[in-house]
Symmetry: C2
Subunit: 476 residues, 2 copies
């Protein structure tokens, strides 16, 4: 590929398939596809190609596979782990799916829609809404991430407690396999027991087994009422007990249950304008609770008030404020959603997107905190996240007196402390962000040899030449 | 294996692992494990072995794999397709998991339980109930089927509309692989994005890729109120419209939506004692609707009455009766649940467990009916099932004047007509019962070559010697 003539020949071949306008070879044109949005990974691609149809993807893959050229599938390029950028070799070709952004169909009576991989998530939420349905996948990057990437990384987000991860929202897939064959698995069936469920291999595979080109997604009844509160609790264990209490009282109406430490709120109040403490006095821990119901009216609010009143009376919570208006609801959510930004404004941090069984979250927080304090006495723990999913963003900020560089030098050791605690609690070192490049080495320490070998065997079977997104998820 | 000495050596080896009491070689002892409960498949095993632990399963599989002896994994042996019985060669060994029936643990705060493969489904429902939780998998055979089999066949049942199939109810698996290695994938995590999700390969694989020995299952809040009605509608299309109307009004409280034709009810009234028509006049189609809510009280009943009242007023339904008591609720369900028995009492029938997108069910019924009528003018269509899942039990009974034998001779041709219509509607020829032996040949006609080849490649990778449940799902 360093051979100029060979590259020219390739580019001509790609242009013949997708058109000259959809192949980028100049550095400036390639750049947005070579670098990740967090500015952590800087690759160099032989070319960037943007096919406009499944058939074009298949022909591009066939051409590249025939020449044994590595392929980096890419959607909105919003990976948190460098999963969608090429390496620095200049030999890989980025296949970007953004031009494939058609909604092929909405079947409201079946509660499904069939969409192409390059559809932006927010657009799909709007499409569902237009048909009076909910597509519940929702996350920070929804304005630019694309559904193919969401599925390839099994994206989580704020709807998981009630609706599950991306994996649970997909009924069928169309995939271009590593040899350029098209697998049409676009079934829209709620029941189909005719052999191995192959779609689950491609969901969460981060493009290492093939390129998802289209999907059948599930739609749900729209929530017609919501009730939101901020509740102060003594500690994560009290938060856990409150979750069980509420689920007992209102069942699966609990759609949001976000744990927030006082440290987080202090950062938010310090750095984010127009935020204020909902309570007169400071508490050590908080939970943002949201209930939803598919019926309209005040029944949900009444149910919530009663349940929280009973919780207060029983001493389960220290204080609580139910949002009295949509404005106040947004104010509460702003506290939760500004934590990352506030943490960034406060200085560098080492982040951990980890999960444990919901019941073990208090132990995770206690033990990781104690062990870190022993080795890194100055570290500040900024812990928050989806308690209802057992998924905590267990972030660590440097102390004011520490140098950023020195702090970063410690990140391996900090990761190790946190991940060992996570492992001992039966947890995962990547709850919702995937492995990408970032954790492709690390995972080898935290997965059994049996499981790694099964993963490698599947990879060898479906991608024998190792051409699909090499270096991500599994090292060769 | 026809060699007596070789068989004796094998049996000694098995006894050394599991104890002499847990290896059956005499015909009378083997018989219950060699024949299916519908008395359709009659095999002969070299031996039946009942390991008591995962370690014993692993050692048994290692022994058998080393000698290249085929293995038939078996749970409660309630397969509808001969999926759990040996062939007639006398060379296969049945590995029955029934002795592995411990609940390893219940984590109520995580809403999970970890159970062994041999646990009877009804026992697990009770275990969940004792912890004030719901395990929603529910089906006819629940008193004798075992969870390992439920997962291996991705069992459906009556809870699918609200809770999904077995696949959706499992968070982690422990599997003994075809070489006797144990894969410990018993994770209890709601989020874990660290590579390929291997558990989904084993769910629904009907024991052809390994033996599931334990699982982490999801638990849910218990329903605290229910409301049930029988509704008469003009046709399947009206039933479909009613489903959309109700979901719009009460959201996911719709937990049951069973379509029943008049032909079905007539059979029930004729053959099942203590059943009666809920309405004064006969209608052509009926729906059994059930709503559930995790809160107690009369709110749900009021919601239902209003919604059905509005539906009646708008001419969406012809008549309706809401159950006024638990006794009446059971009476309504008895009508639905007696259909198979009534059909059996009426004579032989050809059954089809098929699915299509929910929106296409009316078309399925219309078109299959019309095409069958053309070729088999005497055939009686007995159609009923889970409309909310797009899963219809599209059964055909013989006319009174036809001979059973002649009718059965036509079954291949009848299947063909029905399956071709199903295929043209993007449906599945096995919605919830799996393939087993029954449909292992048929499926080749209804799946793409690409998909079949991927399935075969996975099979070769995980079970290179083809020892796991040969002849089921995929022919060699």
């Amino acid at each position: 590929m360093n051979d100029r003539a060979s590259l020219d020949g390739l580019v001509d071949g790609l242009k013949a398939i997708v058109g000259a306008h959809a192949v980028f070879t100049e550095p400036l044109d390639r750049a947005p596809y070579e670098n990740d949005w967090r500015d952590q990974y800087h690759g160099r691609a032989a070319a960037v190609v943007k096919p406009g149809s499944t058939e074009e993807v298949a022909r591009v893959v066939k051409l590249l596979a025939g020449r044994r050229i590595a392929i980096v599938p890419q959607g909105g390029n919003t990976s948190m782990c460098g999963g969608s950028v090429p390496d620095a070799s200049g030999t890989q070709v980025v296949v970007n799916l953004s031009r494939m952004n058609r909604v092929r169909g909405v079947d409201a009576a079946n509660n499904t829609m069939t969409v192409e991989a390059g559809c932006v998530l927010a657009t799909l939420q709007e499409t569902a809404d237009k048909h009076d349905r909910l597509f519940p996948l929702s996350l920070g990057a929804e304005g630019s991430c694309e559904i193919g990437g969401n599925l390839s990384t099994n994206a989580g987000g704020t709807g998981v407690l009630r609706y599950g991860n991306s994996r649970e929202l997909v009924m069928g897939l169309e995939v271009v396999l590593p040899d350029g064959t098209v697998w049409d698995g676009l079934r829209a069936l709620r029941k189909d027991n005719t052999g191995y469920d192959l779609k689950h291999l491609f969901v969460g595979a981060e493009g290492t087994l093939g390129i998802i080109t289209a999907a059948v997604l599930k739609l749900f009844p729209k929530p017609r009422s919501q009730a939101t509160a901020i509740v102060a609790v003594a500690d994560p264990h009290a938060a856990l007990t409150l979750l069980a209490f509420l689920r007992d009282r209102v069942g699966e109406r609990v759609t949001g249950f976000e744990l927030i430490s006082r440290v987080c709120l202090d950062l938010v109040f310090r750095h984010i304008p127009n935020t204020r403490d909902p309570f007169a006095k400071a508490h050590r821990w908080y939970v943002l609770v949201e209930l939803s119901d598919s019926t309209a009216g005040s029944a949900l609010a009444n149910l919530f008030e009663q349940a929280l009143g009973d919780a207060a009376e029983a001493g389960r919570i220290e204080d609580g404020a139910i949002a009295a208006s949509v404005a106040q609801r947004l104010e509460f959510w702003k506290l939760r959603e500004s934590i990352s930004e506030a943490q960034k404004a406060d200085g560098v941090s080492i982040k951990h997107d980890v999960s444990v069984p919901v019941s073990r979250v208090p132990e995770l927080i206690d033990r990781a905190g104690a062990e870190l304090a022993r080795t890194f006495p100055d570290i500040r723990i900024v812990a928050f996240g989806h308690l209802g999913d057992g998924n905590i963003h267990y972030n660590c900020s440097k102390s004011e007196r520490q140098e950023a560089k020195q702090f970063f030098a410690e990140s391996g050791a900090v990761n190790h402390v946190v991940y060992e605690v996570v492992k001992s609690l039966g947890g995962s070192i990547s709850a919702e962000h995937g492995l990408g490049v970032l954790k492709a080495d690390e995972i080898v320490r935290y997965k059994s040899a049996v499981e790694l070998e099964m993963m490698r065997a599947i990879k060898r079977t479906l991608d024998p030449h190792g051409l699909m997104n090499p270096g991500k998820v599994l090292r060769a």
